[in-house]
């Protein structure tokens, strides 16, 4: 069942947006909060990259996806546009599986 968590996540994301606009609370301007909040997406997305690349279910795995991530990394370093990075990653995995 995906609908319940889906709608809860949507409500949570909207509430956070509304909270920023409606309740300018002191604690949000706290330097520690200001420092922590930008680090959250970096840490969570990095963890997602690691999990989606180097694991299958509850097992660690090293397969075509690792090569795909490396190629995507090169595309990022070359400042390729977002969609090019994504396509480069997917195409690499597809190619590695072909050979």
């Amino acid at each position: 069942m995906i609908w319940a968590p889906l709608l809860v996540a949507c409500a949570a994301c909207y509430s956070l947006k509304l909270a920023g606009l409606s309740m300018p609370q002191r604690w949000l301007t706290n330097p520690r909060i200001q420092r922590t909040v930008p680090l959250l997406p970096v840490a969570l997305l990095a963890a997602l990259i690691a999990i989606n690349t180097f694991s299958s279910g509850r097992h660690l795995a090293l397969d075509a996806r690792a090569v795909a991530l490396a190629v995507a990394g090169i595309a990022v370093l070359l400042r390729a546009p977002f969609l090019v990075v994504v396509i480069a990653g997917a195409a690499t995995a597809a190619l590695v599986r072909l050979v």
Binding site: K17, A19, G20, R32, V42, L48, R65, V85
Partner: protein
């Protein structure tokens, strides 16, 4: 000293930028639609996320957790954690937007990375407000259009894995965080987060490593200054 641009020139520039960023986001939404349906969500669910959640990183994380075998609740928690930065954006936009009532309800939904960046980059509050609303509406329209097309496209594809679509989310996440990794601290945090998540994978249910990483980074960020 350069001549001050007229309001017409400013308006044209704002609209042009909004269209540019909207088209780029539409392309980005294509991959969201494709990744979401590949992860097992229906087309209706995929479109509902883009309409109701409307914040890219959270959306990708929600379907990314499900794609990795995690529970949808773990995906929801991750999406909400990623959405916390929108609260900070809202705080910055309060004085600029000056919205109340229905307009505040609508404006809230449009507070994301792109609209905030476009709004605060303008020289005058009037141009900033126009940039916020123009970027918000253009992006909302093209984001949802891109999602539908991306979701429908996967229906006609034979095997998502053969096309490497399971490798698309990490590439997308990497492109998302790359601009934030130039400084030393975020880079170190990202590396540590990836290692911690992988170490936990064999020992806890899918999705849980992300929540542990979230708790650790909050503890790290809130640590007392020395």
């Amino acid at each position: 000293m350069a001549a001050t641009p007229t309001w017409n020139q400013t308006r044209r520039a704002v609209i042009r930028d909004a269209l540019g960023i909207g088209i780029a986001s539409g392309a980005y939404a294509l991959s969201f639609g494709a990744i979401s349906t590949t992860a097992g969500l229906s087309i209706v669910q995929t479109c509902a996320i883009s309409i109701l959640m409307f914040t890219g990183a959270s959306q990708f994380a929600f379907v990314g957790v499900i794609a990795a075998g995690g529970s949808a609740w773990a995906g929801a928690a991750t999406a909400a954690l990623l959405g916390t930065r929108n609260a900070l954006y809202g705080l910055r936009l309060v004085s600029l937007l000056e919205v109340a009532g229905l307009r505040r309800i609508v404006a809230s939904h449009l507070i994301i990375d792109e609209t905030t960046a476009m709004a605060i980059a303008r020289d005058t509050p009037k141009a900033g407000r126009l940039a916020f609303w123009a970027t918000g509406f253009v992006l909302f329209a093209l984001w949802n259009l891109g999602t539908v097309i991306g979701a429908l496209a996967t229906q006609v594809l034979p095997d998502p894995r053969a096309l490497g679509l399971d490798a698309a989310p990490p590439a997308a996440f990497l492109a998302l965080i790359a601009p934030r990794l130039r400084a030393g601290e975020p880079m170190a945090v990202a590396m540590a987060a990836g290692v911690v998540a992988l170490v936990l994978v064999p020992f806890v249910p899918p999705g849980v490593p992300l929540l542990v990483v979230a708790v650790l980074v909050v503890l790290y960020g809130l640590r007392p200054a020395r």
